[in-house]
Amino acid sequence: MSFKAFETDDFVVSADSVTAGLWTGNQPILTTFITSSTQVASSNGNYYYNVYNSSSLTDIQFAITYGNINGSGSQNYDDAVNGKSPSSTIWGQYRTLVLGDENSNFSFGGTTGSDIWAISIDRNRYKESLLPGSTTLVLENGANYLYLTDNSLAVTTVEFTDAGRVFQLVSGSAGVIDTTNANGYSATKGSYGWFLPDISTYILNPQALNETISLNPARNSAISNTDDNNATLYDAIVDGGSFTANSQETITSDFIFVRPRSSEFNYSENPSFISGSTGEVIYSDFINNPQVYITTVGLYNDNSELLAVAKLSKPLLKDFTKEALVRVKLDF
């Protein structure tokens, strides 16, 4: 027989977390931030800016956007209808996505406001989610600067929104909180925002940023392009010069244990194992003491169809005095 049936305890399912740098090339730190003048000048530039890692504009790294509950900070769609503008659209979009309830408001460490900045990581950069505790975002405005991270390493109870886990953005680096103010929050305006790892989004609290580094969005509806609130945050990120984060992915693996016993799989149908056309084994020693070398493990279904295959890194000697145990990993 050349096939052997698996037993129930030959299968083990495992889920392992794999982390990597977030940015292009699995780099954990992004230091160059470029926008496309074409995208910024286009109609969707009224909603968001795409940020690239090089002037070749090949790989989008993240998008910056601004939302305001009153539609302030961007021009109304129609002069006759006040309060309906790209910023109110963005506000509604993130409120629906994160809070799910049109009557809810973002509460940043107890402080609510009327507007947000959001940083949304491009889908191609992360595998499944962002890794909590890995973020360091530096914002700089004039002589003021701020290091932001999330408080995931400090909290004992994780909070959830409609968009999954939520952590507060606080002053600090790589998950380590700067406790100049309590909890790493701003002095009186709560936390600096929310970190939503499951939708790979950061939501920033403009009130706290204004209090700490005087980074303040324009909040009028007759705003000109030079006052674009997306550009305001973009400039602060460029001046800060460093955005560090990791991605995270859970890989589910099947571990399958292949157990050829001592009396099994000791002869080979390899043509070089056979001498001549009548099937004699190549060496007389092989009649009672065959030596074969396992190189390949094939996994089959009941119909003997080859579904998956694994190669050993080097041949494994098998004879009547040896048993083998090979662990095969199959990722999905």
Binding site: Y267, T278, I282, N303
Partner: protein, 218 residues
């Protein structure tokens, strides 16, 4: 394709083309239930039972050889299976299908009834039958196995074929019936089509590969 790093034991499996196809069908046919071992790439003529340094060195030329990574084409891997036979076996089972290569005209039929030589004390048809895999099912309008009526063989022989796609097909039987395609468009400007037929004894593990040429009639 590259060489595997042989400084550590690595056994990451990849899905074969057929495995991906069955996984995509999502009908429960992708269910690993058994395994086989093979010694593809091993050349036993390199084994040296007269090595002057003794028996510890007989397999010197084989045991540290670097191995190639796995191929996803199920017809190109697991070619030479290891098999379980009684100790003292002097002759290995080998298959005889009556052909070393098959040339068949477009639309013509052929029945192949393999025999296993040197198996269980003689030459015989194996009780569990034979697995036959054709590398490109498009070349055949009929490709079926008959003579084995177990549930798994019936399921395999009635499996849906992915039409128009260059994929392999596998059937089980004691006799394999072929009928070459009548479709002219498959030939294009060529006068023949080529494929390979791999037949494996389900009990013995003996294997034979036969090239098939389908010649265009008109």
């Amino acid at each position: 394709m590259g060489y595997l790093n042989n400084s550590v034991v690595t056994v990451d499996a990849i899905l074969t083309t057929r495995g991906r196809q069955l996984l995509a069908q999502n009908d429960g046919s992708f269910r690993i239930t058994q395994f086989a071992l093979a010694d593809d790439e091993i050349d036993y003529t390199l084994y040296n039972p007269t090595h002057p340094s003794g028996s510890a060195y007989y397999g010197q030329a084989l045991q540290n050889m670097p191995l190639l990574e796995a191929f996803p084409d199920e017809t190109q891997i697991m070619k030479y299976k290891l098999t379980t036979l009684p100790r003292g076996t002097a002759k290995m089972p080998i298959l005889d299908v009556g052909y070393t290569n098959i040339v068949i005209k477009q639309g013509a039929s052929l029945a192949i009834t393999p025999q296993t030589l040197n198996y269980l004390g003689g030459n015989q048809s194996e009780t569990s039958g034979y697995t036959a895999t054709i590398s490109d099912i498009r070349t055949m309008s009929t490709f079926e196995g008959v003579g084995i009526n177990t549930a798994d063989a019936t399921a395999l022989n009635s499996a849906t074929t992915t039409l128009g796609t260059n994929v392999s097909a596998t059937v089980v039987g004691t006799t394999i019936n072929l009928r070459a395609t009548t479709v002219n468009t498959l030939f294009g400007s060529n006068t023949s089509l080529n494929a390979t037929l791999v037949i494996t004894g389900r009990d013995s593990g003996a294997r034979i590969q036969v090239p098939i040429t389908v010649t265009k009639v008109s």
